[in-house]
């Protein structure tokens, strides 16, 4: 009798049903194996995981955002390499960029399940009202102009959940990508070209502040949580909302009516390019998550089997069909019908580089610092130079 325990950040009911169903199917095929899921709320999950991993209550498989966190976990010896345990050729079904997030020194310690992208959700009713043509927004300058135009028309240009800070860090991260090109983060991590004090990061701060000087956010955005902001956007409180594709369903639920904006008033706008980047190549990069699962060192081979089962093409395709998320496995996004998901999937596929959220990618401490400086930049209480220096300091003292 083998038991596989899986720890997951709390999800909504549909997703939970989806996971349970997979577990049941797996149990049916494998006599003597039981799979049990546990769910923990988001913030608590992050702060509790390290200690949990040291305990006897360590899960076999747990939810992960990839990146530096995985590196740290590997260094502490909590994870086990799974290449050898996976079915032959399984790794090939998953795009290289996705696997990279779970790889440390060429060893695979987990699998990605889905990718997400951060985009400007747009309320077209409002942009139309202000006479803004979102199709025409190509560059950051265009975007700033559109913001000004919206403001002039008396429309709140952007809603943002400033209290949680991470919604603001998207701006800084994206701008850094655009300014510094795909490798800007890895170079900084390697300590090359001035690390996080590289000109690209300073430029990112500067560009961000060009935006915030327009006062584009709803009043009191800095005391607004992500959830509130997303509900407000769905209530039509602002024209743009820089947020992941995952927000599509939740923002509806959070709206006052429970309905949210009708699909025909909703559009997706990719984060615009900057005109004169510090380093080239950043214009087609995407920012988002490569969320998946890591396997702990105590896991039996059955755990990896289950992981592979969960990630098989059939289940991936099913998730796409239910619009739970955008599956990562090659060619499994084909059954999706939701236009927004399809669009995002195309983006990611076309992306020159998919950067994982910096607050996850760089580990908890540096990530939180980036969130902090993003909020401070937004409020104009910090200079771009200081912001970059603080990130570098946090990185040094990781």
């Amino acid at each position: 009798q083998t038991e596989v325990t899986v720890l997951r950040v709390a999800v909504n009911d549909e997703q939970q049903a989806y996971l349970e169903q997979i577990a049941e199917a797996f149990e049916a095929q494998n006599e003597g194996v039981t799979v049990s899921f546990e769910y923990v709320a988001n913030e608590a999950y992050k702060s509790r995981l390290p200690t949990l991993l040291q305990s006897d209550a360590r899960p076999d498989v747990f939810y992960s955002w990839g990146g530096q966190t995985v590196v740290e976990q590997v260094e502490a010896g909590f994870l086990q390499p799974i290449d050898a345990l996976l079915p032959e050729g399984f790794a090939d079904t998953i795009p290289e960029a996705g696997l990279q997030a779970y790889m440390v020194e060429d060893q695979l310690y987990g699998l990605p399940q889905y990718a997400t992208e951060v985009v400007f959700w747009t309320n077209t009713a409002l942009t139309d009202q202000a006479g803004v043509d979102i199709e025409a927004i190509e560059s950051w300058d265009d975007f700033l102009a559109a913001v000004q135009q919206l403001k002039d028309a008396g429309v709140t240009p952007i809603v943002a959940g400033g209290q949680d800070k991470w919604p603001l860090h998207f701006y800084w991260s994206y701008l850094a990508l655009r300014e510094g090109g795909p490798s800007v983060i890895t170079d900084a991590m390697a300590g090359e070209t001035g690390g996080f004090e590289n000109e690209a990061f300073i430029a990112a701060g500067r560009e961000f502040q060009r935006l915030t000087e327009l006062e584009p956010f709803q009043p009191g955005y800095i005391a607004t949580t992500y959830e509130t902001a997303s509900g407000m956007f769905a209530d039509g409180a602002g024209a743009f909302h820089l947020m992941g594709d995952w927000d599509y369903l939740p923002m509806r639920e959070r709206s006052t009516s429970g309905e949210g904006l009708p699909d025909d008033q909703l559009a997706i706008l990719s984060f615009p390019a900057v005109t004169d980047p510090v380093a080239p190549g950043g214009e087609a990069a995407t920012l988002g998550g490569i969320n998946g699962w890591a396997v702990s060192n105590s896991a039996e081979p059955e755990a990896v089997e289950f992981l592979a089962f969960m990630m098989n093409a059939e289940n991936q395709r099913e998730a796409g069909r239910q619009e739970l998320f955008i599956p990562i496995a090659e060619g499994t996004a084909d059954e999706m019908e939701n236009p927004f998901y399809i669009e995002v999937a195309e983006h990611i596929a076309a992306s020159s580089f998919h950067q994982i959220f910096l607050d996850q990618f760089l580990g908890a401490s540096v990530g939180a610092t980036i969130n902090d400086i993003s909020a401070d930049l937004a409020q104009g209480v910090m200079t771009p130079e200081d912001a970059a220096a603080q990130v570098q300091e946090a990185w040094d003292f990781r």
Partner: protein, 276 residues
């Protein structure tokens, strides 16, 4: 009596009413908010609701999770109270009644606990709880909660026990009653007021504790109500009315409990705290 008296009294009452409204207004807004639609809250946060919508309260009351949260809180609070009273009273009895080598030092050692919050040691505390395999159990909250309550409890108990007439012990002693028996037969029954006081404080503290459960309870099955409330708040973040209804329903038991136990709270402040 005289006119000056009357005027002064009126002034006094007026001032008291102003402070009272400062105190009550937020709570009132909370209670009433639970009856309003979100739209109405936006335009009329303070006033009476136009229509008394009871479905928000209803939906929370009919949610089994809500009752589970309350149940968990209740079990944990009662567990903490009982454990604190028994272990704390026993130790305080020894400190008050028996002089032995090192007793003063041990007492000062225990009093150190008065001076720092959970937070200072929350992480090692978590590891301790985890190593004992208690995570996600009621004990994970009860034991540390008790340990952190012990300092104050022992201080108050000792003060009270020391005030019990010494002759009572001597009379019983001459009757042939030893120390341990005296503790059970006399000290505990005679200390009902201070037991009630300390019990009340520990209960309220445990009932309201947030940080400790936050760290040691992962499973929603064992969530206490403050965790449940924050969780709920996260889920229904723009629906202030639901949140307010939830808050109202969870603070009600505390208020009811307070009304029942206020005598002991006051007594504790007079007897223990002020003299201690």
């Amino acid at each position: 009596m005289t006119r000056g008296h009357l005027a002064r009294n009126l002034l006094r009452l007026a001032f008291l009413c102003i402070v009272a409204s400062f105190v009550l207004a937020p709570m009132l807004a909370t209670v009433l908010g639970g009856f309003k639609t979100n739209a109405e809250i936006r335009t009329n946060a303070l006033g009476l609701p136009a229509i008394w919508n009871t479905q928000f309260y209803g939906s929370i009351l009919s949610d089994p999770a809500f009752w589970r949260y309350l149940g968990n809180s209740l079990v944990i609070s009662i567990g903490s109270v009982v454990l604190t009273l028994i272990t704390g009273a026993a130790a305080a009895y020894v400190f008050a009644q028996i002089r032995f080598f090192g007793s003063r030092m041990l007492f000062s050692y225990v009093l150190l606990g008065l001076m720092f919050p959970f937070a200072t040691a929350i992480l090692p505390l978590f590891i301790k709880v985890r190593d004992m395999g208690l995570l996600d159990t009621w004990w994970a909250v009860i034991l540390p909660q008790t340990a952190f309550s012990l300092s104050l409890a022992i201080l108050l108990f000792r003060t009270f026990f020391a005030q019990l007439p010494r002759e009572l012990f001597e009379a019983a002693y001459i009757d042939g009653c030893g120390y341990v028996r005296f503790f059970w037969r006399f000290t505990l029954p005679l200390s009902a007021p201070i037991l009630a006081t300390v019990g009340t404080f520990v209960f309220v503290q445990s009932w309201n504790n947030f940080l400790l459960p936050l760290v040691v309870l992962n499973s929603r099955e064992v969530f206490t109500w403050p965790l449940g409330m924050m969780q709920f708040r996260g889920e229904y973040v723009t629906q202030w009315n639901l949140t307010l209804a939830f808050v109202t329903l969870t603070i009600l038991p505390a208020i009811v409990f307070f009304l029942a136990a206020q005598k002991y709270i006051v007594a504790g402040l007079t007897g223990g705290a002020v003299k201690g």
